[in-house]
Amino acid sequence: MDLTLFLQQFLNGLSIGSVYAIFALGYTLVFSILGIINFAHGAVFTLGAYFTYALMGGAFGFNGLWANARIPVQLPFAVALILGSVMAGLVGVIVERVAFLPLRRRHSDTLLTVVSSLGVAVAIANIIQYLVGAEIYTFPANTYGYLPAAINFGTADKPIPIRTVQIVIFAVSVAIVTVLTYLINFTKFGKAMQAVAEDATTSSLLGIDTETYIVLTFFVSSFLAGLAGSLVGSSVSIAGPYFGIAFGLKGLAVIVLGGLGSIPGAVLGGFIIGLVEAFVPGDFSAYKDAVAFAILFIMLLVRPQGLFGRRLIQKV
């Protein structure tokens, strides 16, 4: 592999890795608080993309209850992105109240919670299809204004083109990680969240409203899912109601690699998986997912707590 191709694939890996990272952040936030994986995260990711598309004035197709429907507003992408992500965040809160809270109150087994969130994911996908059909929806051509489709990081002789939308996603993911890190480590909200994550019962005795923080965590997590879905949708279109499933699975590999519940781990895990996938040889390029999950298995065997996870100490 010559240097140009290596650099090209390295940048490709960073760009897709940033998508995985931003997706996995939401996963890891919920895990850090409740110790469970929210399988509905991928469905909320999908919803966020639909919300943003609709807020930009996108029309729906000929199938479903809302055939040909169009919201009578045409917001700019940046505004629609924020609003759509907020709406996704609110959906996340509803998911928590419907799928997680009743089971938490009954102290149900973790497996039941996982199954419950899986059920919600399937329900959301089917509701989407019922309302707007299974068509592919694409964001308007001027979503990113007049930016070029790709930017050349090489020379005229040896071009290294990277799609502009991928650069935007990378920049946004870096910004989100920065903001989230600050939020969790340097604000009252973050400290309370960490306290709830460490021990919900004790936090409650110390006056922290644990339920409120669980709801807020779901909101932030789903906001991030909606944001990621919208950004990815703007890059590759919304490929139907099951759009988020593949990302949901990849997100699992990312957070196990990075360390369940670790924010830096989610980011690093995303970039590692993205880079490894980018360097999978062409003949095996359909096996990128297999490579990602092979890494997951190796990590589970060698370091079950992940790169940034802490080893579990059991009192005996």
Binding site: V114, Q129, G133, Y242, G282, S285, A286
Partner: protein, 418 residues
């Protein structure tokens, strides 16, 4: 923050693997476009023997109305419904209307088996149009064959479909017949094509079957197969594969995939600077690809088994009905589903001319219907078709279309090459 206990972690991984198994995308075995009009109404069972005790003759439609294959199934539902209205308006089977009974197969094999069983045993249909995918057909068609229920495959183009059994026929021309036309058209446009890069969806039986045909055609024409890149139908990011392909400087790229993945691949190839010719396989033969790659779809060549512009009475009526309802040209998937229903209706009419179908026991009617449909010749939206004794379609008309996008990139159409 909390750390993962080992057991839940293992559990989550297990769940993930189960999900992977569940989420493998089966892919369509033909081309298509968007949408049917409305969601199909749920099936209602018809009592007793086929046409016997009910006022309408029940014909089953078992296609994917949910799952990631729904995009294709919806188009088939649209075509079938237009056929139902068209033929019933013309008097149905000598005054007896047909009634389509829809069962959703979902996107997997088990769902298809369930749907077929319901259509056969509960809804007591005389025949079935379906399923959407070849993978599904290989699982469910043997059930219909054993029950001696005729099946017309509207979109299964993989090798071996008619050979599943005596009761299985198809109105979807096999890919080996259709695909090479596109390569010939590309060479006609640019005789200097030498190097070819091929992309195909590794997780889709049809795409694998199609790419074999394309690769054989490329070699047979003396062209250099410079690289073969694989992807999954669930993929959205193709930058690494596109980079690998562009790196070998191909003159032509051939893609066997579906609308979403194939459209994204086209988009990313063009954005990364590829300027050569592109051929899309059957899975990209749908207007659903337009919104994905927008203006960048322009110029893509696609071989077709259906042209909306085909001049005959039934296609004119079908095209008008489709355009009135959906405001766009009908896709191949809808046309093939329409054709499937048409074959059943015309075969029933031919049988009825010999002896009243309403008086036949269901089992006998199904067997007679299967024999009759293989004997007949049909003037359909696909052109004149008939079947071999195995149930393979004999079709004369094939086309190559070039995607022509409007300047703003929002709308496009298939321009059929002469």
């Amino acid at each position: 923050m909390k750390k993962p206990p080992a057991r839940p972690t293992a559990l989550f991984v297990t769940c993930a693997l189960l999900l992977i198994a569940c989420s493998q995308t089966n892919t369509p075995q033909t081309s298509t476009t968007v949408s049917a009009g409305t969601s199909p109404s749920p099936a209602t069972s018809s009592e007793g023997s086929a046409a016997g005790n009910s006022s309408a003759i029940p014909v089953g439609v078992g296609v994917a109305q949910t799952s990631n294959v729904a995009l294709l199934g919806q188009e088939q539902v649209a075509g079938a419904k237009i056929a139902q209205k068209y033929f019933n308006d013309k008097g149905g089977v000598d005054g007896t209307p047909i009634r389509l009974v829809f069962q959703d197969t979902g996107g997997d094999e088990q769902g298809t088996i369930n749907a077929f069983n319901t259509l056969i045993n509960q809804d007591k249909v005389v025949g079935i149009v379906g399923p959407t995918l070849s993978q599904q057909a290989f699982s469910a068609d043997p059930i219909a064959d054993r029950a001696k229920v005729p099946v017309i495959a509207p979109s299964n183009t993989a090798k071996g479909i008619p050979q599943i059994g005596d009761y299985v026929a198809r109105v979807s021309a096999p890919v080996a017949v259709v695909a090479p036309n596109a390569v010939k058209a590309a060479l006609k446009q640019n005789p200097n094509i030498k190097k070819v890069a091929v992309f195909f969806a590794q997780n889709d039986a049809f795409s694998k079957s199609e790419t074999e045909t394309f690769q054989t055609t490329v070699k047979d024409m003396g062209l250099e197969l410079a690289t073969v890149q694989k992807f999954l139908t669930t993929d959205t990011d193709f930058q690494s594969q596109a980079t690998n392909a562009i790196n070998v400087n191909p003159d032509l790229i051939i893609i066997s995939g579906l609308a979403a993945d194939g459209g994204n691949l086209i988009k990313q190839l063009r954005e990364l600077g590829y300027k050569g010719a592109i051929i899309g396989g059957n899975g990209l033969n749908t207007s659903n690809v337009f919104p994905v790659c927008k203006a960048l779809c322009d110029g893509v060549l696609i071989a077709q088994a259906y042209s909306p512009e085909y001049e005959n009475e039934v296609n004119k009526a079908f095209r008008e009905a489709y355009r009135a309802q959906f405001k766009k040209e009908p896709p191949q998937f809808s046309a093939q589903a329409f054709t499937g229903v048409q074959v059943f209706v015309e075969s029933l009419k031919a049988l009825n001319a010999q002896s009243k179908v309403s008086e036949k026991p269901l089992a006998e009617l199904r067997t007679n219907l299967n024999q009759q449909l293989l004997r007949g010749k049909y003037d359909t939206p696909l052109g004149e078709i008939s079947f071999t004794h195995e149930g393979e379609i004999n079709q004369k008309e094939f086309y190559v279309a070039r995607i022509k996008m409007e300047a703003d990139g929002n709308n496009g159409k298939f321009e059929f090459l002469k």
